[in-house]
Homo-oligomer: 498 residues x 2
């Protein structure tokens, strides 16, 4: 009797928290898409109120006592895992004092504004004192959470449950070395030295771009009855509710921006669409980690969307609308153009993880306290010189390019690289099961792929850690070697390396 | 000290309730505009959760004790009125048992679905048992609320604070008699007998319609930094937050539908935009009543938007886009075309209040219990025959045309007529102060009008009852005579009556 009452109570809390968070999702989506400019002040109030309501619920004593009672009892399969997850989230949230959360939230809000101004003015000095305060608070947070090992683990864990810097550091080190090796080889090739963008410099009318964005999104599995595409400054994906997925895009000159980023966001959305419906309103109906989420977007963006077989289907269609001189090979090379840009979100496949690793290294040192905020621009630029061979012209295209730090988001960046690596591991596992899968991709048929992802990744929700999910499909955990081999094979061909 | 603590607490409650209700506003707006179809189920859950949260807050014992303590104390001006308003809302909400609210909400939800099906199938029998249940519950609600006089007063009061059926009944009786008199005269005129729609039967491209919708909305005062226009099946207005007003429109063949309904919704929005910002997050920052709200939309829709001076400014613009044969008089007559339609929302100015009175009479009898649901179609059609001289072909264009009853909204309809009457009273008062105001309207300059409405209506928020606000500007309360005189003058001219 009492077990049932406790279970019902714990489920009720989860449902309320989920409903609040979905509503917050709508507040955010609306703010990025349709909200009139002057609505921002009221929106901040609505957001803050619902945020604190959600937090109050997860740290509630009533909830925690019920969880503690249930933990002592032998529960059946999914209930047991669900209680573990809620216990994990609740006990972690309860470690942070209310006063601390308020201070962090206020500091982050001011810091975000300062970052916007500083970025606009290209003046790191405006941002510096805020970032110093933020880092002070994040160090404090790590002390409150107090997971084993490096203090950074306590931050990383919020995005990649169970992952540690001890595991990541050597793997990223290896990845960095190999990426730089490959890049130096590419840069020395004749193909690289003579490469020029031609086709992607043409005019690409907005309505055609949107036509392809919607077409590919639908093909990946996002029908208009349960999803939509809107415009926003930055592309993102948000699940407002079961069967209500929203992605955004932005039309730029290069048609591959909206197309590629929409493939990426559609990959995220497909994951959310296939989460286990039987757990609709409890914490198991969630992604297992940010890294696994990113593996889904990168799977579609890189492994599918940048592949030769994918373009065998889409090139003709692009060609007929955009007059690409009927030159398939040139187009494919331009889509996979390697170039040492300074901006992470515009990076090609080979450079991308280097951007991430650079940030990871700096984050570790900042949390350890071995470097200081005042030295960041210099440290950033030195690393850029070393890894990329280029130096940002100013801090706005350097250390201040990303929003993350201004909002106190430390420990997020590594998940971009983790997801990128997982994506290649998953594609390899898929190809083992379906050696001729490229033939499907060539005719734009992704049904086998979608079913395979659903069965092997999506349907598990948050029942297992992402590492366990990956091990179950790939027979090994995070392995940068697979990614390195994939890049070496692919770009040796494109750049005619020896 | 304790007073301050109580005041702060009562303000905190109001702010939270307002933030929740604004968020509910966004959930509803999104559902009507952009939400993918399959998102409906999750949306219902989000809506129900926030609705019950808002209700929990207004009936909270903690809030009520603080109000009761504050009521005993001599507070300064606005605080005193604010406490009265919160006391009123809270004590009324507390009269309804939680179980009753849940039953009403569940019944209304099922009833709404049944109404949708029944309307589609044109089969009143499908809706009948649900409506019977709803009316049973509304009678119960009237007993719980228990205001003086007719039980209907307890329902009416939720929409028109302080108004009673005892006051409305004779006024509506007089209005009905006069409207029918005027209609019979119009119908006997030669102009009426030979009238034909010609200009409004032309083609009106969608983009031009939207151009005019946005133009007039902006002219009424809704700049794009704090408002927007979107498409929805039914036009409506919602304030999502301070400086965040949303109106919707729907493009139909008759260009006057989107244009006129957008003028109407802009009138609502302008009211909300000008509510007293110093009370942003308490109950004084609200409309005084639904009737007064409607007076603002009807003011712009009827008194401005259907006037000769208004069209002196807009006709040329319409003419240039829609090729109206340069025939100003014909266009003006078509815009004010009198015709006994069966649908309330499509009614002309002369028929409109008759639709409302018909519903008011039926509501009174239903709540009194002197008529039964099973007889409604017959009663409806008899009244239509008597007042309009036409009979609906089926119940979907008759008794089932409006959504209100299916959702348990009894007491709302009269506010449409109240607002329509107030609008003419306000226009008369405006003209007393600015006898040459038509000259401004002729050049599309509404600045004096907007300022006058702000000073006399909007800025009061909910500090006074709507009747007091109207008395203060017009030197008398609700007076259908002003409306009757306005219609007689205007339509005698249009239809050349003796």
């Amino acid at each position: 009797m009492e077990i049932n009452r406790d279970l019902e109570l714990v489920k009720k809390y989860q449902k309320e928290i989920i409903l609040i968070n979905q509503t917050i999702g709508l507040l955010e989506w609306d703010q990025q898409t349709y909200m009139p400019k002057e609505g921002a002040k009221a929106r901040a109030e609505q957001h803050a109120f619902l945020g604190s309501l959600s937090h109050e619920k997860i740290i509630s004593d009533e909830l925690f006592s019920a969880i503690e009672r249930l933990k002592k009892i032998e529960l059946s399969g999914d209930d047991r895992i669900m209680i573990e997850r809620v216990y994990r989230d609740a006990s972690k949230a309860r470690k942070l004092p209310k006063k601390f959360i308020e201070e962090l939230s206020k500091t982050a809000s001011l810091s975000f504004n300062a970052w916007q101004d500083a970025k606009k003015e290209k003046d790191f000095e405006l941002f510096k004192p805020h970032l110093e305060k933020i880092i002070g608070l994040k160090k404090k947070e790590a002390k409150f959470i107090r997971l084993e090992g490096h203090p950074y683990n306590s931050l990383l864990d919020s995005f990649e449950e169970g992952m540690t810097s001890e595991e990541l550091k050597p793997k990223f080190e290896e990845l960095k070395k190999e990426l730089i090796n490959l890049l130096r080889k590419i840069e020395e090739s004749e193909t690289y030295k003579s490469q020029k963008r031609v086709l992607t410099k043409k005019e690409f009318p907005r309505e055609y771009q949107m036509h392809f964005v919607k077409d590919v999104s639908k093909r990946i599995g996002l029908g208009e009855d349960y999803s939509r595409v809107d415009f926003a400054e930055h592309p993102f994906m948000v699940r407002i509710g079961t069967n209500d997925l929203r992605i955004t895009t932005n039309i730029k000159d290069d048609p591959f921006f909206s197309f590629g980023s929409s493939i990426h966001e559609s990959g995220h959305a497909l994951y959310e669409l296939n989460l286990p419906i039987e757990h609709e309103f409890n914490f198991l109906c969630d992604a297992s980690s940010y890294g696994l989420h990113e593996s889904q977007s990168k799977f579609w963006e890189n492994m599918i969307g940048l592949s030769e077989s994918f373009w065998k289907y889409y090139f003709e269609k692009f060609n007929s609308k955009f007059e690409l001189e009927n030159n398939f090979d040139k187009w494919l090379n331009e889509v996979n153009f390697v170039f040492p840009g300074k901006i992470r979100v515009e990076a090609d496949e080979v450079h991308y993880c280097l951007h991430v690793i650079l940030r990871f290294e700096i984050e570790l040192d900042l949390i350890e306290g071995t470097i200081e905020v005042k030295d960041l621009p210099q440290i950033w630029n030195e690393k850029m010189q070393e890894y990329f061979g280029v130096i940002p012209e100013n801090d706005s295209e350097g250390v201040m390019q990303d929003v993350h730090w201004s909002q106190g988001t430390f420990g997020y960046f590594p998940t971009y690289a983790i997801g990128t690596i997982y994506a290649t591991q998953l594609f390899e596992a898929l190809r083992k099961e379906f050696p001729e899968i490229e033939k499907d991709i060539e005719i734009g048929d992704y049904s086998k792929i979608k079913e395979w992802l659903r069965e092997n990744i999506h349907k598990h929700g948050r029942k297992f850690t992402s590492e366990d999910i990956i091990k179950n499909v790939c027979n090994e955990g995070l392995n940068p070697g697979v990614y390195i081999k994939y890049l070496n094979d692919k770009y040796s061909k494109i750049y005619h390396l020896k």
